[in-house]
């Protein structure tokens, strides 16, 4: 139960970072923390009591295993977030080239 609460706290920390920080790079890092929190939630839902890892090696017999499906989902999700982070960093580099600052309160040419 404590572990689920800590996962939720991590999600709130990431959300706080996206909303209140003023620097572009800190916003990108907070999106990364948000991604860690959601992947962690997915893996926590796969735990079964008193089970081993879901890999069958040569000499072992079949025992009760944890659920391997969310682990596959998390692999895919990590790769997708890698692509998103790469695109955000590329946009940040181009923004610095145009506006000469990383402060988002100064990058406000579109109004209304």
């Amino acid at each position: 139960m404590i572990v689920y609460l800590l996962c939720f706290v991590l999600l709130l920390v990431g959300l706080y970072g996206v909303i209140t920080k003023r620097d572009l790079i800190k916003i990108i890092l907070s999106i990364g923390i948000l991604g860690y929190a959601v992947n962690f939630l997915l893996i926590l839902f796969a735990y079964r009591k008193d089970s081993v890892y879901p890999i069958l090696a040569k000499g072992k017999e079949v025992a009760q295993m944890v659920d391997p499906l969310p682990q596959a989902l998390v692999l895919t999700s990590i790769v997708i977030e890698l692509g998103t982070t790469a695109m955000l960093v590329a946009l940040a580099i181009k923004l610095f080239e145009k506006y000469q600052t990383f402060d988002i309160t100064q990058i406000r040419r579109l109004k209304g």
């Binding site: 977030e81 955000l88 181009k94």
Partner: protein, 467 residues
């Protein structure tokens, strides 16, 4: 470039063929020959074919329009690859029957959308793309959390099996799942509380991309998925349809109020997108078959006339080099095709008979009155009147204004005119879809799929047993 034109033409022909030849049946296809409870299925029923036709019409005309527009802005072949990826992602979202497959294809479509918004390399485009990317990422994480809770409650990811298992789990979990999905997808569909990315992103993008984003992306990713999840899987509980009603009404009113004061032509059109999505949400929230008919019909119509309006804005921008309404004027003589199609589209969006906007808005208002919700109908009528006012402003300042334009910098080529004329003809032609003979062929199977809510399970699982 030639390959992409061939691909979109083939897609248009195939989707029209499948829509006409397959009225009430459902086709399922399991990927990699794994049988149903373990594998991923692709489902095509009447709603899917309808939206596929819409996506392929808009992408075909957008590709024709963009051949000349991009040559003017001196972009190159990478645009076509990103455009094809966008169409791939949207088709994947529409046709899939599995939750995580939906998430992957949605991310593919969003990546291409972020990159295409920032394609013109001006300063405002990067800022708009960054805002869109941050908000899109946060909403994608909320959707992934919703998928995680769904898997934990029902231990399956296929949509049909989740619908089958759903009555036997704890009812409070459904509120959590619905809340997480609604928060994620309402941001993608740009309804009221989460609309802030839409004006920047849609007004800074190049014109064919604006029409693709505003015409099909917010509808295929946002509204279609919400129809699937809340009607076919969750069996439409009362609390969610009431939330749709409230969100839709707020979007209609505030969208139109914010749109009247704009002087930038594309920003005005982007604010009107918010208001029209409010109409569709209002129709979905009424939850009677007439309301769903109005919502689906308005979805199709809005794609057509909003894309036409964005093409007009794009050709005006290409001809004059500016988007400010105060600097234009007297365009009736210099750009005849653009101004006439713009007149047709403005009359459609305001709801003047006999164009198609009038019929779909009338169906939504009648459905609201029949379901015993008269105040929502009043708000819908107010929104329609204010829409008419703001488009009269566009017509007066933009096309019949005082300052005369001496000469046009770049001519509007024949390809752009073809795209605009195709959509203008469709504007008038789809108003015929409500005639009772044609309605049974085109719109009634769609409404039947949505309104018999959990018949979806029988269609998918029954098809698998006979496969």
């Amino acid at each position: 470039m030639i390959l992409s034109v061939i691909a979109t033409t083939a897609l248009l022909v195939l989707s029209l063929f499948s829509f006409i030849s397959m009225k009430d049946e459902t086709v399922t296809y399991s990927m990699s020959a794994w049988s149903l409870p373990y594998g991923i299925v692709l489902v095509q029923d009447a709603l899917t074919s309808f939206i596929l036709v819409m996506v392929s019409i808009i992408s075909f005309t957008s590709l024709i329009f963009s051949i000349q527009y991009i040559r003017h802005l001196s972009m190159d072949w990478k645009y076509y690859s990103l455009f094809m990826l966008l169409v791939t992602g949207m088709n994947g979202v529409i046709i899939t029957g599995d939750f995580f497959n939906l998430y992957v294809f949605m991310e593919i479509a969003l990546f291409s959308a972020f990159a295409l918004v920032a394609y013109g390399s001006r300063a405002e485009e990067f800022e708009a793309a960054f805002k869109y990317a941050v908000m899109g990422s946060v909403s994608s994480f909320l959707i992934l959390a919703g998928i995680a809770v769904t898997y934990s409650a029902t231990s399956t990811l296929t949509m049909a099996k989740v619908a089958e298992v759903l009555p036997s789990i704890d009812q409070k979990v459904i509120f959590w799942i619905g809340a997480l999905f609604m928060a994620g997808f309402v941001l993608k569909a740009a309804a009221m509380p989460f609309h802030a990315w839409l004006p920047d992103a849609h007004s800074s993008a190049p014109a064919p991309i604006s029409s693709m984003l505003s015409g099909v992306l917010i509808k295929a990713l946002g509204i279609y998925v919400m129809i699937r999840i809340f009607y076919n899987v969750f069996n439409a509980p009362e609390i969610f349809t009431e939330i749709f009603l409230v969100l839709g009404t707020i979007s209609i009113i505030i969208g139109v109020f914010l749109a009247i004061g704009q002087w930038d032509m594309k920003r005005l059109l982007a604010y009107h997108s918010i208001s029209q999505i409010g109409y569709i949400l209002l129709g979905m929230g009424i939850a009677t078959p007439l309301g769903i008919l109005g919502a689906v019909f308005h979805l199709f119509n809005h794609a057509i006339f909003k894309s036409l309006l964005f093409y007009n804005a794009g050709s005006v921008e290409m001809a004059l080099g500016t988007r400010d309404l105060r600097k234009m004027g007297n365009l009736m003589k210099t750009l005849p095709t653009t101004s006439q199609t713009s007149l047709i589209a403005s009359l459609s969006i305001s709801g003047i008979p006999p164009f198609n906007g009038f019929i779909s808005k009338l169906i939504i208002i009648i459905a609201a009155l029949q379901a015993g919700l008269p105040w929502y109908a009043v708000f819908a009528i107010i929104g329609s009147l204010l829409t008419l006012a703001s488009f009269m402003k566009v017509q007066r300042y933009g096309f019949k204004g005082e300052t005369t334009v001496e000469s046009v910098e770049n001519k509007v080529g024949w390809r752009m005119k073809t795209a605009m004329i195709i959509l203008a003809v469709l504007c008038v032609a789809t108003s015929l879809m409500i005639v009772p003979g044609i309605q049974e062929v085109t719109l009634d199977p769609v409404v039947k799929v949505i309104a018999d809510k959990t018949e979806y399970i029988q269609l998918v699982l029954g098809g698998m047993n006979g496969n």
